[in-house]
Point group: D2
DNA sequence: TTTT
DNA sequence: TTTT
């Protein structure tokens, strides 16, 4: 069955993105974003923050947008899908779950005295999924390319 | 600002889709789906059903999928965006809000004795928004085409 | 069937919210937000903005958050459901589709010299839908209250 | 910042749910669902299925719904949030990413001769997040309970 | 009616 | 590792 696998996140980058440019011309960006949920503890009644970290992967046009415009602390909206990869390390199979983004909207960064672009927003994809460059990070061959990556 | 305009629905078709084939080769399907929410009434304690109807519009490949595979009573997952159109009738401006779908997944229809394909599901789009035919219902020219329609 | 009726929006308020405090103690906020999508026109190759306006309704705690913290131009994330109401005007039945929000996150307003709170964000609900005040805008009786409103 | 951490899945259970009843009265269900995406390979032109498995966790009322109504092969809609846990095994820290569901809708199972309830759907939560039992799987104390689990 |  |  064709299922649905959709993730929607709004959070802040923990570090600047790491972007690699592959031999075949494709780019891929990796970074983490934190989403924080605040709730009131049942017993103490105190407010507690719970932060969750998400590994984000962006391809092609979106990777280039990330390289040019995203930095540590920035707030972003990301829509994508879950993908779990397995890899070997010291004879042990490990698993990493990532969010492969297919839409990116910048929501502005943290306050700073020299930040004049705080509200400048950019959408790496767009809602109509047109044929613009960033939306092409969604092509099927993404999958075969992933096999080339030295994770 | 590049915003986000996203709708996610699971519901049942109220009637068979109406599909038109435009002169420029594009197809467009229109139908309504019902989403029902059940809640317990505060005063009576009784369960109450509240049904909401949504006007769905599908273009091109997705319209053709609708034409071939969808019929009254079928259950579908639809992802898309909100669009409000205005039109004149008897000198009064009226507004209609529709969901322009860019992903469709069939979830099976209602029970019937001769329905052997109840669980056969089909996704008119796909999560990676590839360049397959159905996903091309998302091209920008959708907008100019809409002006040609005799609503 | 219990369906799914979900809307996710990121956009800017066109005006300050209008908030009413009902006799039964509940509050309700109404405002519109714009979501803008930019695409490249097929023929001219020029970038075109298409703006969509959405009518937002917030109840109780979320209405009070809107009253205190939201103003014209602010950027917000809103999650909710579609609801279409009908009403009579001059003998004609008209329909309005609204988004009844059950989660609100402030994403910051536009740049201005005296705006020190630009990045201060607040979530009127929270992801775990806890029992905090704002989350109680989601109680079932919302439905009966709506009938009391002089729309 | 209060972020957004939302996952929406439609897929099929790989096995029957495992449900535990904790000493404090809470229940927790664990199972995996598969979402399959079909795309056309760039080089071969052949259709390729890519299946992703997701670890689902449901609490309280939703866990009890899962225990009563869900079984291997069933198709479900699940809405929830991502949570990554770490644990030690043989001196190595491992990570598991799960989807903690706060809404569940049954979409029907696979065909079987004795399955008359194939289309009977049930929503363990509801869209308005009311105070009904299932929705209380969302209370803040979920977090402290999780520490009690012998994962 | 917003925003870039 | 972020943010408020």
């Amino acid at each position: 069955m064709q299922g649905v696998n959709k993730v929607i996140l709004i959070g802040n980058l923990g570090k600047d993105p790491e972007v690699r440019h592959l031999d075949n011309g494709a780019s891929v960006a990796n970074f983490s974003i934190a989403t924080t949920e605040t709730y009131k503890d049942r017993n103490s009644g105190e407010r507690v923050d719970q932060t969750e970290w998400h590994n984000i992967v962006l391809w092609r046009g979106l990777a280039e947008v990330a390289e040019k415009y995203l930095k540590k602390g920035d707030s972003v909206y990301i829509e994508g899908k879950l993908r779990t990869r397995s890899w070997e390390k010291e004879g042990v199979t490990r698993y990493t779950t990532e969010v492969v983004g297919d839409q990116l909207t910048m929501l502005g960064g943290k306050k700073s005295s020299d930040d004049s672009g705080q509200s400048s927003n950019y959408s790496g994809g767009n809602q109509s999924n047109s044929q613009q460059a960033p939306a092409q990070s969604q092509t099927p061959d993404t999958n075969s390319e992933m096999d080339d990556l030295p994770f």
